[in-house]
Symmetry: C2
Subunit: 384 residues, 2 copies
């Protein structure tokens, strides 16, 4: 029965709700036919809401990284000066993409688990006037930090003409996202996190200011050329055969988010974060990040009285609960819990309960039920 029990609580891919599974199982249709165009037309306004933008959101068939590379090769070119804000492995990936294209890549790095400081960015831009784009990560999946995008974007705009490019892969759909109000120029996300789909689609929205740069940018690109996606999306289609089964699922994902109401979706994620953090504190297990900069979609835990990997193995073997490990130098130091998309407060109670049993199983000191109780108390307080 454990083999049938698949409790996927890693920070993506996240579980796919049954109604989305059913939507993805619709018989295949022609990608140039009227049915596909009608579906694209229905999806367009709904996807804008998730990004908080009046801009159309383009859909690329590819992993999240294809979305990051799309952003890079469309807004900048070989030789351009760019700034990348690196708070973990996905900020590092943005920088590596820029470096691969031989952009003059500056980095502002912080210790993993910390957030980017707005002042550092402002100061850097005051002294470096040729930066064409600033790349930043909203939720850094590797640490569970939520960078202050609104403030960072403001600092960029006040101190430069650079474009603001945001990787929102592991949080858009789960947290308030106001692309236009925040002055973000390129916002990227993927399908397999808070959007509740399997991996395979990347979403990219672009500001009017960024379009001017993209139009004029001579960096070579074909599959990832946003101009092709925009021109086709204007006609409710795509430049290349899209992953239609995922787009069937996307429409249902947007339905689910609308039924719940986006505000309630976001409140649910915040609640799950608060429940998870309260539980870990009650269990005396340290968190990697501070409360005020913690992501609502992923929580990194840094145990000091037991081995993170031993716990992960125990809960996977005994209960089918998948938690993520640490990346790079945090490997073995932390475990990460994904609470995004198809995840509810009840699921939080379950994984906290399992983590308590796992701690007991590996011989860690644990007061059974203390974490669950703390999470329940957060829930009750929130709902009174």
């Amino acid at each position: 029965m454990i083999n049938e029990s698949n409790l996927l609580r890693i920070p993506g891919p996240s579980p796919v709700p049954p109604s989305i599974q059913r939507a993805m199982s619709q018989p295949m249709i022609g990608h140039r036919g009227a049915e596909t165009s009608a579906m694209m037309k229905r999806i367009k306004p709904e996807l804008k809401k998730v990004f908080g933008t009046k801009q159309d959101v383009m859909i690329i068939t590819g992993s999240g990284t294809s979305g990051l590379e799309t952003a890079a090769v469309n807004v900048a070119a070989t030789g351009d000066e760019v700034l990348v804000l690196v708070s973990g492995s996905f900020g590092d990936r943005f920088a590596k993409i820029c470096e691969e294209y031989k952009m003059k890549t500056h980095r502002i790095e912080v210790e993993w688990g910390d957030e980017i400081k707005v002042e550092d960015v402002a100061n850097f831009l005051k002294e470096n006037k040729n930066i064409k784009a600033v790349f930043m990560t909203q939720c850094e999946t590797s640490t569970g930090i939520m960078n202050p995008i609104e403030e960072l974007s403001k600092a960029v705009r006040e101190n430069s003409d650079a474009l603001v490019v945001v990787d929102g892969v592991s949080c858009v759909g789960g947290v308030v996202t106001e692309m236009d109000a925040w002055g973000v120029d390129v916002f990227v996300t993927g399908s397999q996190k808070a959007m509740m789909l399997p991996a395979g689609l990347a979403f990219v929205a672009v500001s009017d200011k960024a379009w001017k740069v993209i139009e004029a940018n001579e960096q070579a690109r074909f599959y990832l050329d946003l101009r092709r996606y925009r021109d086709n999306l204007d006609k409710d289609t795509t430049p290349f055969t899209p992953g239609l089964s995922l787009i069937f699922g996307l429409e249902q994902a947007l339905n689910l988010m609308n039924e719940e109401g986006l505000e309630n979706v976001y409140a649910r994620h915040t609640l799950m974060k608060d429940m998870t953090r309260a539980a870990m504190k009650a269990l005396n297990v340290p968190l990697l990040t501070e409360d005020d900069v913690a992501s609502a979609t992923v929580t990194a835990v840094k145990p000091d009285t037991f081995e993170a990997e031993a716990l992960r193995k125990s809960v996977k073997t005994k209960f089918g609960l998948s938690l993520a490990g640490g990346q790079a130098h945090l490997k073995g130091e932390i475990f990460r819990i994904g609470h995004m998309g198809f995840c509810t407060p009840a699921d939080v109670l379950q994984y906290i309960g399992i983590i308590e049993l796992g701690m007991s199983d590996i011989g860690a000191e644990v007061e059974l039920g203390a974490g669950v109780k703390a999470a329940q108390e957060v829930y009750v307080k929130q709902n009174n």
Copy 2:
């Protein structure tokens, strides 16, 4: 009921068999976990058979075009001389990708509906000694021509050191493919044609000779860098979060192909092609291509007594049968039938019967049943 009847007979996306749909509906799992690695390990040897190669086949999450661009940016770089053999719109796409990257792009073009002549390629290469790669299309989806890859590859190797790069998107999995025996260096296909999956995966296999070029190639690329895919595939994983639901389906697609036997899969496709062509001849409706160069996966028909678009509209409206139209200058001139992947001789009888009724519906002269009978006779002859 017509709205429920979805007879998808375009040359991709093709229908997805029920057992593949079920496989794709498996609950999501972690892409870095043991289950995914075990699945990748099981898939690897099976995928090699489909390509006729001892090389591992890399899986890219993207449309077919992402596979074509992967081939181009990995084997050649800006400024390199390349030759593209253009027999239709997908050959033209290969050329456009090379041109986007400012490769010195030579074209050998033939009239749409004709195949590339081996002698022309040999002669060109004798006089142009700096060609680094020759790009060719196996089945040209826009015309239904099957180019003679084995002979073309031989001509390239006998007359140059250029790499042989083949777009097999609309036929690999449906026709005999012997990458190693034919001396092909890079073979690309997609998921949504003879592989019976939705769009969203591209497959790329690479020869030892090509790996040397790819290793040394300084063309910038990140998401499409084959070295990353190879290094990760060696460890039964992928560099970026893969489209796992499609990979669940891929394993079942390979199961289905193995159960039937690859030889029988290929024979079925040839039979469906022969039945379709015999039917059109019996109905006195001209074919775009000659018998000896016709693809086993797609047949282009060029009616001279009725409008192709009127027929397409009639069969779609009355029976839910989707046929494809022509592309570029063949728009309105031809219609195209996809008979690939999840398609049987019984399906051929059905679409021929519907096409006869459609011809009658739009007032074309037609002997009802004559096409079906001719197709049946081909079937009987083949099975006696």
